[in-house]
Amino acid sequence: MIPAFLLRKGDLMNTRNLTVLVAATTATALLAACSGGTKASDSGGGGSKTLTLASVDQGSVEDVVKAFEKANPGVKVRYTTSGADQYQQQIRTQLSSGTAPDVMSVWPGNGNPGATYVLAKPGYLRDLSDQPWAAKLPDAVKSVAQYEGKTYNAVFGLNGIGAVYNQQAMEKAGLTPPDTWKELLAFCRDAKAKGTPAFALGIQDNWVTQLVLYSMVATTVYGDDRDFDQKMQAGQATFAKSAWTTAVDKYLTMEKTGCFQKNPLGTNYEASQQLAATGKTLGIVQGNWVIALLKGKNPKGTFTFKALPATDDPAATLIPAAAGAGYGVNAKAKNPELALKFVNFVMSPEGMNLFVKKQGSLPSLPDTGHKVDPSLTELSTFIQDDRTVPFMDQLWPNPKVQQTMLSGLQEIFSGQTTSAELLAEMDADYKAGS
C-alpha cells in the first residue's frame, strides 16, 4: 500500500521539510497578497481622472501615455499591451461582456476580428466624426477609418510594404536595388551567385506570407484597374480570374529564382530580421516598421525602403500602403470625455509624431511638421504621388479570406496545394460574405 521506501526515515524527514516549506510559502504569499491587494485597489480608484486603455502598440504607446499624462496633470492612464493574437481574443470577450476599456486599438477596414467594420457594426464603437481631425483624414485613410460614412477609428500612422535593403551588404555585393521585374530576377541571381540571397523570408509566422504577394498584387492587379475592389464587391471580378494569378506566379518565380534564403517555412519573423540585419541576405521584403527592428539588431547598419517592382515599367509600380492600427473609443466608455481627449491627443501633431517616430511609420495627417526619416523617402514620395493601394485584406468582407490566403501560401510553399486551388478557395470565402 504505502511503498516501503516511503517509510524510510530520510524520506519522511523530507516530506516533513516539504510541509514546512509549503506552510512558510503560504504565509509569505498570503502576506504578499494582502499588501498587493491594497495596491491594486488604489490604482483601481481615481474616479473621473482615470482612463483605461488596451493597445497593440507595444513599445510605442508607453511614450504616448507618458506624454498624455504630462499634458493632463492628475490624469492616470491604466493601460495594457499585448500581441495581436491575444489582443483579439481579449477585446472580443471584453466587448461582448461589457468589460472593455475606454479606448482600444482598432484595425482599419474589415477582414480582421478587431477591425473597424467588425466592431462598429454591432455598435461597440463611439462615432468620432465630430472630432476636429476626422474631416482632415486623406480619402484613402477615410475609407478604412469609417463605417457607413461615420468615422470610428483614429488612425495615426501609415505603413507601406516593400523591399528594405541593407546598404552595407549591397555595397559589399556591388549590387543596386532593381527597378523592374527583369532587373529584380537578375538581382536575385547575382545575389545568389555571390552567396548572399537577395531577401530574407520568414514565413513560419503566417502573416509574413502575404507581404511579397501584396507587393506583386499592388502593381499587377491595381496598376491596370484601380477599381478592382469595387468590382469584387459587386461580384464582377474574382481572385481566380484576375491578375491575382499573375501575382502568385511571380511570387513563386521569385522563390524558384532563389530570391529567398533556404527553408523559409522554418524561418520565423525574428530569424528573418536577423538575416537581413547582419547582411546574411541583402534585404528583406517587409513593412517599413521593420527598419527600427533591424537597427536594433545592427545599430551600425543603414537600411533603406524601396518599392518592389513587379513589371518592366518602373513608372507603373505601386506600393501597398495603408493605415496601421488606430484607436477607437468604447461606445460605453466609463470616462468618455477623457477617452476623447486621449484620442485627440493621439491625433495631435505631438502625439502623432511621437507614435510614428517610435514605430518608424508616416503620419496619417498632413502638416504635422514631421520630418521624414531618409530611409523612408521613397515611401513618402509614393504616398504623396498617390501611387499606393490599401492592404488588400482591409476591404475584404470577412476574416476568413485572409486566413485562407495565409495558410494557403504556406501550403503552396510546402507543395501541399496550388495557386489555382488557393485562389478558388479565397473566392469561395469572399462570396460567403460577412
Binding site: Q88, A271, N398, Q403, S414
Partner: protein, 316 residues
Amino acid sequence: MTLAPNEHLPDRDRPPDPVPVTTARRDARTTPPWWFAAPALLLFAFVVLVPSARGVYYAFTDWDGLDPHYAFVGLGNFADMLRDADAMQAIWHTLLIAVSITVVQNGVGLLLALGVNTAIRSRNLLRVFLFAPAVVTPIVTAYLWRNLLGPDGAVNSLLGAVGLDSWEQDWLGDPDLALWAVVGVVVWQFAGYSMVIFLAGLQSVPKEVHEAAAMDGAGPVRRFWSVTRPLLAPALTINLMLSIIGGIKLFDQVYALTGGGPGHATDTLSTLIYKDAFTLGEFGYSIALAVVLTVIVAVASTGQYLLLSRNERAAS
C-alpha cells in the same frame, strides 16, 4: 464516463471485505456523512459544470462572439463540420498526435525506468534529471524548441557539428515533419514523467521474487514478462490515461511551436477551436468543435480504461 468504479479495480486494490461482526453496526455509525463532499462539489459545479453546460448552448447558435444578436441553428454547426476539410483534418491530427504521444512517451518512459531501476551508479541523479523537464512550463519549452528547431537552430548546428549534415531538416517548416516535431517535443518533456510512475511500479516488485526467478533460470526478458509486467499494470493504467487525455487536449505546445502550420499541417481540434473563435469570429462553430473534442476524450479514456482494467484483472 466510467473511470474508476470499484468493480473495475483489480482485486488487491479493492477495499478488503469488512469483518462480518461489525457489518451490522457500520452503516449506522461509521459511514462518513455526504456533506463532506459538499465544498468540493460546489466549487466544481460553480467553476466547471454549470459554465460548461451554459457554454454548450452556443454550439447550437451562429454567434460570432461579438454581436448581441444571433440565431439558434440547431445542429447546423455539426453538419457544417462534416463539410469542413480543415475540421476533419484537425480531428485526424488530434488522434495521430494523441496516439503517437501515448505510445512513444510511455515506451521511452518504460525503457528509462528499467534502465534507472538497475545497479548503475548514477541512478538517483538520472532520475532527477530525467524528470526535470516535466515541471517546466509547456509554453516555455515550446518557445525554446521553436528556436532550437529553426533552420539555423541548435539541433541542426549539432547535427552539422557531428558530421550528420544530411540529417539537417527544416523541422517545423516541412509539413511532413512538423507534426512529428511537435510529438517529439512533448515526449522530450514528459517521458521522465512516465518514467517516474513506472519506476514506482517496478520498485514494488520485491527483490526476492526476481532472485527466485533468476535462480529458476529465467532470463531478463522472461523475468520482465512474467514477473514485472503484471505488477506494472496499475502504473500503466495511470500513465496511459494521463497521456491520452493530455495528447487529445494538447494546445499550448502546438500553439507556440507552429501555430497549426505550415498551412494546416499541425492544426489540431484545440488550435482550430481557438482560431475559429477568435481569429475568424465563428464562436458558435468553435464551441461545436469543443463538444466534439469532449466526446473524443470521453470515448478514448473510457475505452482504454475498460480495456486496461480487464487486462489488469487478467494479469493479476
